[in-house]
């Protein structure tokens, strides 16, 4: 279970950091890596029935639905629109990471 938590958190954080760096300095590879890591985090969260986990899945899906169009729009030439979509995805990613921290605190308290 711990390994799964490491994997999920890694992809969540990775998505957040690359998303943030893309907003500051738009770069095609960074955008694709953001999409890839975000989708991986969503897939890893699929099937989790607990309340916080479902909230995280929902937040991840929101980020995906911002980032996938952002990728296409970026390569069609509208960089500013793509950056604004990525900013929307960033909000969802921040919520995902916050929820992940809350989940970690709760599991720590119940284990100790």
């Amino acid at each position: 279970m711990r390994l799964k938590k490491i994997m999920t958190d890694f992809f969540l954080l990775m998505a957040l950091t690359t998303n943030l760096s893309f907003i500051f300095n738009p770069n095609p590879y960074e955008l694709v890596i953001t999409v890839v890591t975000n989708l991986t985090a969503t897939i890893l969260k699929l099937g989790e029935g607990k309340i916080l986990a479902t909230e995280m899945t929902a937040a991840s899906l929101v980020a995906d639905l911002h980032l996938i169009p952002a990728a296409f729009i970026y390569f069609l030439g509208n960089v500013s629109e793509s950056v604004s979509l990525a900013t929307g995805a960033l909000a969802a990613n921040i919520i995902s990471v916050l929820l992940s921290i809350i989940e970690a605190i709760f599991s720590y308290l119940s284990e100790e």
């Binding site: 095609p28 590879y29 955008l31 694709v32 890596i33 890839v36 989708l39 991986t40 897939i43 890893l44 699929l46 099937g47 989790e48 029935g49 479902t54 990728a71 296409f72 970026y74 390569f75 069609l76 709760f106 308290l109 119940s110 100790e112």
Partner: protein
């Protein structure tokens, strides 16, 4: 010492954070949880498919100098076995061809396997069944004044037919495989494949909003369990009417003491019916008349019972005072007194008392108007 104080602190935080546990999970929540969990099966195939698409897209992007749209298109046509050719820039070079070869070797297998698993999970797996079940449970939540039939057998099938005629909604609960086939054959709209004596099953069938419960299990012990559980969930005999069957008078009495409103002994019922035909040799018209009225088969006539409660303004009045015949066109054909006697020779001077049950006879529409008025306004 520091370790001890840390553990104390943690205990305090845990106490503060501890929320009161909710009661038993509802069946709907349980199935929704199962549906979400069934999506776990998709994780590995989706991850593999995602990995192939990501590796392919990033690889072709590097080869084509950062063209995302060409790269994803090239990846999809390669692993999807479409193979339109080397469309993206840089794919017709030796490096590009080596990359495409390895991507095709890895991706085609992953693509076909993943698609097969995804289709299997959605079409052949539990997902569709769970979705159907969730739909049924959500629909049941909207039912009111319905009947709950626990156990599906030939008697239940006849009962279902009668309920359909009267447009009374019903939910059938039975966990047996053969019952499930039988229910599907009879096109039962709302059914739960659960043990009927479980609280979760009865709650899911909407016992708090139901008007009737029929405990019709093959096993007597199960009937007892159903009646007891139902009465625990809905103690009022006036709000939920429980009916059951029993093999002997003794068992019937026990079931009534446990909470059933009325228990029928089938063998005794058949014997009495045969005897009533023997008494009315001409053709059994009289024997069948009340049944036909009660079952709604006599379209022009209906007979209903109205109980006079303690708070009712009907108590203490004479039949001529309420004048049902003139106002609603229905006749009081008898009064069942609270001590159990049946008075059939009623007149305008007959007095209504607390706890009496009035037997009203008339056209279905008139009877409905009269009962609605007395139930809502006076009784």
């Amino acid at each position: 010492m520091p370790a001890l104080s840390r553990s104390k602190k943690l205990k305090t935080i845990r106490k503060k954070l501890r929320l009161r546990r909710r009661g038993e999970k509802t069946l709907l929540a349980l199935y929704q949880g199962r549906l979400i969990e069934s999506l776990k099966e998709l994780r590995i195939p989706l991850l593999l498919l995602h990995l192939s698409l990501s590796v392919g897209t990033l690889g072709y992007m590097i080869l084509s100098g950062g063209n995302f749209i060409d790269a994803i298109y090239m990846t999809v046509i390669t692993i999807g076995t479409i193979g339109f050719g080397e469309i993206a820039k840089g794919t017709d070079t030796p490096e590009g061809r080596i990359f495409t070869t390895f991507l095709a070797l890895m991706g085609i297998g992953v693509f076909t396997t993943s698609v097969t698993i995804v289709v299997r999970v959605f079409l052949l797996g539990d997902v569709i069944t769970l979705l159907k079940y969730i739909k049924v449970l959500s629909d049941i939540e909207k039912l009111k004044n319905h009947a709950i039939i626990c156990g599906y057998n030939k008697t239940s099938a006849w009962l279902v037919e009668a309920l359909r005629k009267r447009r009374i909604e019903f939910v059938v609960i039975d966990s047996r495989e053969e019952a499930l086939k039988y229910m599907q054959l009879h096109n039962i709209k709302y059914f739960l494949t659960e043990e009927p004596y479980k609280k979760t099953a009865l709650n899911a069938a909407g016992i708090s909003r139901a008007r009737y419960l029929i405990a019709n299990m093959e096993d007597e012990a199960k009937n007892i369990a159903v009646i007891v559980t139902a009465r625990l969930l809905e103690p009022s005999r006036e709000k939920l009417f429980i009916y059951s069957t029993a093999p002997t008078d003794g068992t019937a009495q026990k079931l009534e003491e446990l909470g059933a409103n009325k228990v029928i002994v089938p063998d005794k019922l058949i014997a009495n019916r045969v005897f009533s035909y023997m008494l009315h040799e001409t053709g059994g018209f009289v024997s069948d008349l009340f049944d036909r009225i009660a079952y709604g088969e006599e379209a022009e006539l209906e007979i209903v019972e109205i109980r006079v409660s303690e708070r009712s303004s009907l108590a203490g009045k004479k039949l001529k005072d309420i004048d049902l015949r003139r106002v609603y066109g229905v006749t009081v054909i008898g009064i069942k007194r609270s001590e159990g006697s049946l008075e059939l020779t009623v007149s305008g001077d007959t007095q209504i008392e607390e706890g009496d049950t009035l037997l009203l006879l008339g056209k279905p529409s008139d009877v409905k108007k009269a009962t609605e008025f007395y139930r809502e306004v006076l009784v």
